[in-house]
């Protein structure tokens, strides 16, 4: 869907994404880094159960909410930093199912 401009000299940073170590471009928001590397799904909606993807990229739509260092935040408003723990919880189904 999006490709990274290879001429920009952004260094990569190591983050833990969904439990695994991943190398992502730096100098941009987490959402941009994920979109630019083909990881377009940001979360599973707790209400529809469907996969969501960033929509507005400016902090309005909240589709890019994901767990960043333990707290749910907008990925498009959070700059990517080395060592961040990012979890999109993509394996979860409907979050509000009572067990």
């Amino acid at each position: 869907m999006y490709k990274l401009d290879t001429s920009t000299k952004n260094e990569n940073v190591e983050v833990i994404l969904d439990g695994r170590s991943v190398s992502l471009p730096s100098g941009m928001s987490i959402a941009a880094a994920l979109m630019g590397t083909g990881k377009i799904i940001s979360r599973i909606s707790p209400t529809s159960g469907k996969p969501c993807s960033p929509h507005c990229l400016m902090g309005v739509c909240f589709e890019c909410m994901m767990e960043i260092d333990g707290v749910q935040r907008q990925a498009c408003m959070t700059e990517i930093r080395s060592g961040m723990k990012i979890n999109r919880h993509l394996e979860k189904e409907n979050n509000n199912e009572s067990s």
């Binding site: 707790p46 209400t47 333990g70 707290v71 749910q72 979050n95 509000n96 199912e97 009572s98 067990s99």
Partner: protein, 373 residues
Amino acid sequence: MKTADIIIIGGGLSGSAIGLGLIKKGVSKVLLFDEQRPTQRLSRGNFGLTWFMCKGADHPVYAQWSRLACKQWPEYASMLEEETGYNVELDWTGGAVQAFGEDEFKAHQENIENLKTVCADVGLDYPVSMLDREAFSDLIPEMTLGDDVSGAMYTTEQGHVNPLRLLGAMRCAFQKQGGTFIGGKSVYAVVPQRDKTVVVKTGAGDFQAKKIIIASGHGSKRLMASLGETLNIYPQRGQLMVSQRCKRVLKVPVLSVRQTMDGTFLLGLSTEDTAMNNRVTADAMKSQASNAIRLFPELAKVNWLRAWGAIRVMTPDGAPIYTKVKGYDNIFAVALHSAVTLAPLATNIVAPWILGEAGHPLMSNFKNGRFNV
């Protein structure tokens, strides 16, 4: 002029519940007016507990009344779902009030003993017990208790519900069974006529009815005053906070923290004297957040989404007002907080009472005039 059998001024929890009761009793033309002013939608400020626990410590009649309401709740919820398809999310999982430290534990124990006595005096049981920390923890295995939680008072015979869905459901049932709902129009005046009917002047024109019920929350005071009686209510602010949706782990509602069926945590509930100011304050939010984290530390990382305030209709003794306006046989007024808990009674007991039926023996305790003694 347009006519009706009964006009209800105020389509909030109480007005809608009573309207539903009247329709069920076969009244043919019932009009329910609701202004839909956002600041006056008091059901927003209701925590959603359908509780009798802790109620009526110095008012045995109120204790009885709340208990009676709780007993009717499960059937009330099923009735609404059957008739409208609305799931009001009644979760009959009991309720708890936490104690922090030893002093609070003792205080709760005393509170239970006191209410047992008060209830026994009127022939009622009070099935509440005190749980120690371990028992409380066993009750809600998926939650971790904060370090200084010493225990909780607990009962199984109550639950919690979605107040706003409840409002939608009651109004839907009312309309489905023949009631007329007029939303977004104000009622300016109530004008009793010589022929014992009453004319109601509204934004949708004038209407004439045989009976009028004033159930407009804080707006009721003005309408009562025009009829020559002071309604004994005063405003009391409550602030609440809600979180983002989370996986459902807290199955038993606790007094200041409950997790709704859609997974959001509701925190509250303050009690403040701020006249009609319904803004939220940073210190209330901070204290509610601290309290919630003190109770359940894992809430620390949960996102707080919204805080809001609502102004309760409070009466001097905390019990409801169901009253005939002085000098009139056909004009009634209702004013109360806890309209969620008491909704079944509004439909099942208050509505028939308005129609002149013998009524429940407890009804005579809720006159507006009782404060003038």
